[in-house]
């Protein structure tokens, strides 16, 4: 059993501790936003936040997560009420096939929660680990930049991430 907080709720997971976080999210909790891409921590489609930091959930052991805070794209908004980054991604039509987008948004969220109005260079460097095979990087970039300058997502006070 792994006890942790997922999207603000205390959860006890029955998945085996050797399971990667991604499998528990998708199979046990049916949180299907994060995607299985490469399974080797190389593409970023599975990116979620652990204690506010972006991690590849496909190579993050459940056994490492007791007592920690996990956030997935489901915590940012819904189809009816999308969060700021989700709305900007829709506005800029940043998704082609869409497979990488949940990971892209979560990595961008981590940046906007730690850096106020990041520069283009900061955005580019921060987003570097996540790959989009359709090639919509310029639209993804435009969406993130718009939210970065909108003030809709601002750096949080130091403290446990929710």
């Amino acid at each position: 059993m792994t006890r942790l907080t997922i999207n603000g709720q205390a959860r006890t997971l029955a998945s085996v501790p050797s399971s990667p976080l991604l499998y528990a999210l998708r199979n046990e909790l049916k949180l299907n936003g994060a995607k299985f891409g490469c399974g080797m921590g190389q593409c970023g489609a599975c990116t979620v936040l652990v204690d506010g930091k972006p991690v590849f959930s496909c190579v993050t052991p459940l056994a490492a997560l007791d007592g920690r805070q996990v956030r997935t794209i489901e915590s940012l908004g819904t189809a009816d009420l999308p969060g700021a980054l989700q709305a900007a991604f829709i506005k800029h039509q940043a998704a082609q096939c869409g497979y990488c987008i949940a990971g892209m948004i979560m990595r961008a969220q981590a940046l906007l929660e730690t850096v106020k109005a990041p520069s283009d260079q900061q955005i580019a460097e921060h987003m570097e680990p996540n790959l989009c095979r359709c090639g919509t990087h310029l639209r993804i970039f435009a969406a993130i930049r718009e939210v970065a300058h909108s003030g809709l997502v601002v750096p949080k006070q130091k403290g446990p991430a929710v």
């Binding site: 050797s18 399971s19 990667p20 399974g39 080797m40 921590g41 652990v50 930091k53 991690v55 052991p61």
Partner: protein, 420 residues
């Protein structure tokens, strides 16, 4: 105690030596770099080879800076030294340096205006270069794109900002002049010795430094650089997984040895440059390295035999490995099955006496660089705690590599994590 007293005596003597040997004349500035069309393409190509073998770019280019424009912080035990701009910019680079000034810098560690250079610039090695190699390097650098860039000010501990002290240091550690003439480099191992000791300045990292920043003797016994362990170059043939000459060539030329794994950390840029030079230069280096191997295993630092890591810790390590590592490093994973990369149990980072390089690799990963063989590993610092990494190490050492447990792994992990 004796070493400390000796070091103090030496330090006390430095200012005296400084007063006697310090003053060096300025060499008159030129009007600017020599006209590029006066330097033949063949000459530039020859210089490119020398500069690649000398690893000039590794230090003289900042992380996001222009090539050779300097500004990279070199973390020394005495504080940060910023590399200088060696592009031919007349004002901030070496554009007004005559060949005589350039040669004096490489042979004696003296800048054009007469100030003494810090030995982070490896003139104690470059001094051994042939005249023709120094001239080729000059021709090459003078045909680079000039960049206007001043490096930040050095941040050295008192009183090392006072450069004349270096005159005393030079008396102890600088033996100026070429030692292996060009014609003697026809012999492969002599060519290798020349490349290792002069241009390659391998000892700068692989020998370790003494209390006043001189390289330890005998050379190549292993050292520390940028928080990584630079292994002994004398014990490669006697390592648990012995290195052959071919292994060394593969490692240095492609960044990857099928028997030992990838070049990581500060060695990554070195192998990138060795991929650019003629194959015979790398073969010469490997031949010489094989020649300096000493008999017997690397002596273990004295420590009492501790029982291997406890079963609980290894068990947790196995669980973490299954989830975090096995998709690449497990048996039959694509990395070994398709790419034919070596199994983890043969990695020097796993087989080393200290966990330093294992921890660096797990915490920070291997960033994708423009390397001859692209190598990448994600960083695990934000996924695993220091205790969890210690458990992982216990499992990898005991169960995969069949080696005795490292001690105090979690503490060292914390230190390396905080050092980033």
């Amino acid at each position: 105690m004796l070493r400390k007293a000796l070091a103090l005596a030496v330090v006390a003597a430095l200012p005296v030596a400084a007063c006697i040997f310090w003053p060096q004349p300025a060499i008159a500035p030129t009007d600017g770099p020599p006209p590029a069309d006066g330097i033949s393409p063949a000459r530039v190509a020859r210089g490119a080879r020398v500069v690649a073998l000398g690893d000039c770019m590794v230090c003289h280019t900042a992380a996001k800076g222009e090539p050779y424009a300097g500004g990279l912080a070199l973390a020394t035990p005495f504080g940060a030294i910023y590399s200088t701009n060696i592009t031919p910019d007349p004002d901030t680079g070496i554009g007004r340096w005559s060949y005589a000034a350039f040669e004096r810098a490489l042979r004696h560690g003296v800048a054009r205006d007469g100030h003494l250079l810090y030995p982070a610039f490896p003139y104690t090695h470059y001094t051994q270069m042939t005249d023709d190699d120094i001239h080729a390097a000059y021709d090459y650098l003078m045909t680079r794109t000039p960049v206007k860039a001043e490096p930040p000010k050095n941040e050295l501990i008192f009183p090392l900002g006072f450069r004349p002290l270096l005159a005393g240091w030079n008396l102890l550690f600088l033996r100026p002049g070429n030692r292996i003439a060009a014609q003697d480099q026809q012999v492969l191992t002599e060519r290798g010795k020349y490349l290792v000791n002069s241009l390659g300045h391998c000892a700068s990292c692989h020998s370790g430094l003494n209390l006043i920043g001189g390289e330890k003797s005998p050379a190549f016994g292993g050292g520390t650089v940028d928080g990584w362990h630079a292994p002994s170059l004398l014990h490669l043939a006697s390592a648990s997984v012995p290195w052959s000459q071919t292994d060394i060539v593969d490692y240095l030329r492609t960044g990857m040895s099928r028997a030992h794994g990838a070049a990581k950390g500060p060695m990554q840029p070195v192998v990138s440059h060795l991929a650019e030079v003629p194959a015979q230069d790398v073969q010469a280096i490997a031949a010489y390295i094989m020649q300096i191997q000493v008999a017997g295993k690397l002596s273990e630092p004295a420590r009492k035999l501790e029982k291997s890591a406890d079963a609980d810790q290894r068990q947790l390590g196995a669980v973490l490995f299954a989830s975090a590592c096995a998709s690449c490093h497990g048996p039959g994973a694509p990395m070994t099955a398709v790419s034919r990369y070596p199994a983890l149990k043969t990695s020097p980072a796993v087989l080393g006496q200290q966990p330093t390089n294992f921890l660096q690799t797990v915490l920070h990963g291997v960033p994708l660089k423009n390397a001859p063989v692209p190598i990448y590993m994600p960083a695990f610092a934000d996924m695993l705690s220091d205790q969890q990494i210690a458990s992982l190490a216990a499992y990898v050492r005991a169960d995969l590599a069949q080696q005795p447990a490292w001690q105090h792994v979690a503490d060292q992990s914390k230190t390396i994590r905080e050092g980033q």
